[in-house]
Symmetry: C2
Subunit: 309 residues, 2 copies
């Protein structure tokens, strides 16, 4: 069986790390760059990882997908706020069995893309990772790293298993989820409180956890998410909230991706992380008042700095 | 009948205005000052009001209540965050019929003081006013001004009526409330959303009202307050929320008192405006999730800047 050929769309904190690890292990990986293209062409891709630093002096780098080859696996590592671009970005990369894996936060991303690219093998990926893009072509991986993959509609499981094997062989812990929806809700138990609260309070996870009021509020928000997940048919046990709190208490002070987006006045992933879960819960008859309030505060903040530009 | 003799405890945005108007009309008013004492002794008290500017070159000014005379009416215009001082500040001013009027926001202030000064004639005052202390001994009154007075326990109605007459004669619209608790809840319908949201979002009332997300959130918060009031035995009709929204839309951009406290890194009136209403509602079986979230966010913000000092 031939080796899988990979494309990475969006070579930032996640795409740079996962694609870089696969490329280092000998896989053929084609990277789409935006503003970093010239820098990477000259200097290569640099990964500073807790598991070991390395530089890939030469990578397959592109500015447009129309110049990229057809691939077996496309790792979509864009922010969800760019997903409207996917229906034009992806077609040049696809053959009938290509697996498109959305390594993104939130709910409903695969559903929207399924409507735009019917017939496509779609999957989701959930990165439990602390990493960030420090400079052009320079990713710093600070902690964790596990990637969980799950099929959107049951198709493509065989290729997803091979991707897991490739990742594991490349030094990235990877596992299959047999319930992508449940996995996405579980990730929201962390993402909903910390992403939004770090922005609204302009604080790190550690600051939020160090004061009893925000600790309690984080826990309240987590319970709203587990309640919503359960109402939507993805039951999450109560102990999961405590486990998330405990593991966050052990983390180094961390700025979630939305906090970095806020600091750089980029669009926030409000639709995927807040609005769609709230809407799905509402459709199931479950109210998320504090999550909704956080969504409203985030939209105010984003609206204000969008107006300043 | 002799003219009432007044004391003002806390000569800031409210005490300076109400006391200043009474003094200008010829009433005997004794003012307690803190940091402004020396300035006022030399320069007098200046009121710039939409109803007409004036300066009182000489006022009865004091640094300590022990030097002040016994008075018939004490207007307490301190922030509620200083109410722990009242049990020692007030006694020198009191005769058996003195009316102590707490011109303050929030719930429960009279209850706490009744425990500390048993037998005292207690009342509450609600100032519907936009004013602020701009400089030492310099109050700017920008809009509104009506003062609503109500007895805490039914005693003292006669003297409160005389205070209303004195205020009206001095150019301050004043009226009696026959239900202080209901009046306090009604004021909270405005204070709970705008005070906290202006701090957490670092915005003016106008900015909050200009974006649909925060407009909706303000309305949600108002509805929580009317629901809580009703659960606590002070029913407020639905139309009141719309009236508050409409009148705020017509206001000039405004920074509520808590926003000014935040800007100057002073203690915030979280107990009186948030914690006690939430607790009273909870005791009545009514949950205020968004108000509680706002309280938690405010305590985080206050805790953080208290630590910086």
């Amino acid at each position: 069986m031939d080796s899988l050929k990979y494309a990475v769309i969006g070579t930032g904190a996640l795409g740079g790390f996962y694609g870089g690890m696969l490329a280092r292990s000998g896989k053929e990986v084609h990277f789409l760059f935006h503003s970093d293209y010239d820098w990477v062409k000259q200097n290569g891709l640099r990964i500073d990882s807790v598991t070991g630093d390395f530089i890939l002096p030469k990578v397959y780098a592109y500015k447009e997908t129309s110049q990229m080859p057809v691939c077996d696996v496309v790792l979509v590592c864009l922010k969800t706020t760019s997903n409207h671009l996917l229906s034009s970005l992806l077609p040049p990369l696809l053959h009938p069995q290509t697996a498109v894996i959305l390594i993104q936060n939130g709910l409903g991303n695969e559903d929207l893309l399924a409507g735009q690219l019917p017939g496509c093998v779609l999957a989701g990926g959930l990165g439990f990772i602390c990493s960030s893009k420090m400079d052009p072509g320079h990713v710093v991986h600070m902690d964790y790293g596990k990637l969980t993959l799950g099929s959107h509609d049951g198709r493509g499981e065989a290729v997803l298993k091979r991707v897991c094997e490739d990742l594991s062989a490349a030094g990235v812990p990877a596992e299959m989820s047999d319930n992508l929806k449940l996995s996405r809700w579980k990730k929201l138990v962390w993402n909903i409180p910390y992403n939004g609260m770090c922005v609204v309070m302009n604080a790190s996870t550690k600051e939020l956890m160090s004061r009893s009021e925000t600790f309690d509020l984080i826990r309240d928000l987590m319970r709203e998410v587990t309640g919503a997940a359960t109402a939507c048919g993805s039951p999450i046990l109560d102990g999961f909230v405590q486990a998330m709190l405990d593991s966050t208490l052990k983390m180094k002070p961390y700025a979630p991706s939305m906090k970095l987006d806020f600091d750089h006045k980029r669009l926030l992933e409000i639709d995927a992380i807040y609005s769609r879960p709230i809407q799905q819960a509402r459709n199931a008859g479950y109210d998320m008042p504090k999550t909704r309030m956080l969504e409203q505060q985030l939209r105010f903040i984003q609206g204000r700095y969008a107006d300043e530009k």
